[in-house]
Point group: C2
Chain length 387, copies 2
């Protein structure tokens, strides 16, 4: 056999070798392919293990912080306290350099590609890839005239439900679903597993088959702080108080919705079109949804950045007439966790809406300002949509 | 206005602030959103800039190496020599910790998520996102009975050409296009920009509209080295000499091709179906293509890991009858760069094929074993397909 496959030049593996049996536990489902660490132990502690031969200090931040200790084999390790099942962003800091863990997949959050560890549990079942029919997740490009001065091509992620490709005639309702500040159009699929949530819920009839669209809702610099430039060093998203999200609103209403309706087999009516988002995306949903009741019949606010809402005065008085709003908004869904730093403000908004007689679903749950709760909110909100 | 948008908790930006005017040059197109570094200077040098307050040494590796120098502002910087336009993987090493640059997008290569810098030039035009109709890139899940012991769900990336969504009846030929060792099903789109190459070439009639499918061709451990386990510490891909890629061949022929044909609007015939790949993917293409001439009419070998081919003896004698092969393989395309470490072996394979009278296209180019050449190979191979 003279055939020679000389491709070892491309083969550099970060896989860790074990002299004997592998340690207990399992690699996190959020790991890069073949990476053994971070590792979930049977007691739900997480062990991190990183090679940094000459470092003086290695620390896990964002999660923790946890200081790693150098072993005789040159690897730095630490084991956390037991963690509740859920999704945790983290960073690695080596001698003052804040970066990613090569063992983790890359997730866009905090305005950068970063690491995360998924601690699985019984509550992970609803977003796990299972033996059910799967939809597909498209990256789609469209030209948006409303972006910037001369327009621009933009990328959206589009989930189509199982059977969409093969069923040439069926039309579907559409949920426009937005990320939080510092994240982007990839986040609901990569961090949120929105596609698997839908696949599993559709398989048991809990959610109706629908299309999901994720755009990049990060406001451009001119939109920050009522038109002022962002504070130095804060990037796109520095000062959002009172923001109208004007450019994104124009993108959604003028460009995105018409593009989706002419490209996919949608049911192009307000009753079959919803808008939802988390955190900043929740604030955008309320602003854009109230401005465009002709487009969106249902609104979902997941841990929304909307505190101490005054229905009489805010949103240019669009909430002042409760009877009109109750007629034009079929479903207004608001969810927040009690450990969320936004909890008090959002709860006050809920109470003010209630006093004003504005009908809405109020979902107060355990949990903080994290993906672990937003996945559950999608499941509940989604199950109430388009009924 | 009592509306309060208290979302600064989610806002951590890595954007660098400049006291006055920004430095010359431009952020690399491969950067993470808003990241100012790495920066391409007018003379095609690249400046890296990284914050690592307490580090003793910071070095760029894979590319270079280049040692960074700490400035008074606490940032470490270095400027490279001028680089030819192209795509360069790199890593950052801080005090012995090899990791990514937060300024770069994350690319799966070398069996890990890593950094890369794209140096643009006049030759970048054919894969740049331009003002032409765009196709879409799907993530699709299908159940493969031929994977492992009991089968498994697998993810593929599928490019559909512009107009696919709206044109309900048109059917298209299919190119199955494979990555190299250490990469995966994401690489042809993320690193290779195969979708933009097709969009641009289809727009000017250089390539016929077609579907592209990218699978994960990394062989499982049992498939290495004629059935032996991989060498310790080398991971999936450690010892490929003489490998039959048996499991992947079964996945492609039994599961993937039938799934694609029943899910997408394909033209399900060998004349309208091609298989191609780079490096390891080129070796897989030759093996699987010769075993399944009933499925694939055209084969593309991009810098293939096939050295000193003996047509009389290799591939179980499937190349021994030149007349039969010339009849069953419509297009056999082989490309390699003169700076590629595989060059001598692949050139010998070409010469041996020529001596044996086996018809093929031979494309000898500048360049090494890098994405910069594989994008060009896709453009040329693609333009000859399905004519």
């Amino acid at each position: 056999m003279v055939l020679r496959l000389i491709i070892s030049i491309l083969l550099v593996s970060t896989t860790v070798t074990f002299a004997q049996a592998p340690p207990p536990g399992q690699p996190a489902p959020s790991n890069a392919p073949n990476a053994q660490y971070p590792r979930i132990n049977p007691d739900n502690t997480v062990t991190f293990r990183i090679r940094a031969d000459d470092a003086m200090s290695v620390r896990i931040t964002t999660l923790g912080p946890y200081d790693l200790v150098k072993g005789e084999d040159g690897f730095w390790t630490v084991t956390t306290k037991p963690l509740a099942p859920g999704f945790y962003y983290y960073a690695v800091n080596v001698d003052g350099f804040t970066t990613t863990d090569p063992g983790s997949q890359a997730f866009f959050g905090y305005n950068r590609y970063g690491s995360a560890v998924e601690v699985p549990g019984s509550e992970s079942d609803f977003f796990a890839p299972k033996d059910v029919p799967h939809g597909s997740v498209r990256q789609v490009w469209y030209f948006s005239k409303s972006t910037g001065a001369g327009g621009a091509w933009r990328r959206v992620f589009v989930y189509t439900p199982p059977g969409y490709e093969a069923n040439g005639n069926t039309r579907y309702p559409v949920l426009y679903l937005q990320h939080g500040a510092g994240e982007n159009e990839t986040s609901w699929m990569n961090q949120g597993h929105a596609n698997f949530i839908l696949d599993n819920a559709i398989a048991v009839g809990k959610i109706k088959p629908m299309i999901i669209v994720n755009e990049n809702g990060l406001p451009p610099p001119g939109e920050f702080g009522r038109g002022a430039a962002p504070a130095a060093g804060r990037g796109r998203g520095g000062a959002l108080i009172g923001n109208r999200f004007a450019e994104f609103e124009a993108v959604v209403s003028n460009d995105l919705v018409p593009f989706i309706d002419r490209t996919f087999r949608t049911i192009p009516s307000r009753d079959q079109r919803a808008l939802a988002g988390l955190s900043m995306g929740g604030a955008q949903t309320m602003r854009i949804g109230l401005d465009h009741t002709e487009l969106f019949g249902s609104l979902g606010l997941f841990s929304p950045a909307i505190g101490n809402l005054d229905p009489a005065a805010d949103y240019d008085g669009k909430l002042a007439d409760a009877a009109a709003i109750n007629k034009s908004v079929t479903l207004l869904w608001i969810g927040i966790g009690r450990e969320d730093s936004l909890y008090a403000g959002v709860k006050a908004s809920h109470e003010n809406l209630e006093k004003a007689g504005i009908r809405h679903v109020w979902w107060e749950t355990d949990g903080a300002h994290v993906w672990t709760v937003w996945r559950k909110y999608l499941l509940d909100f989604g199950s109430q949509l388009f009924r």
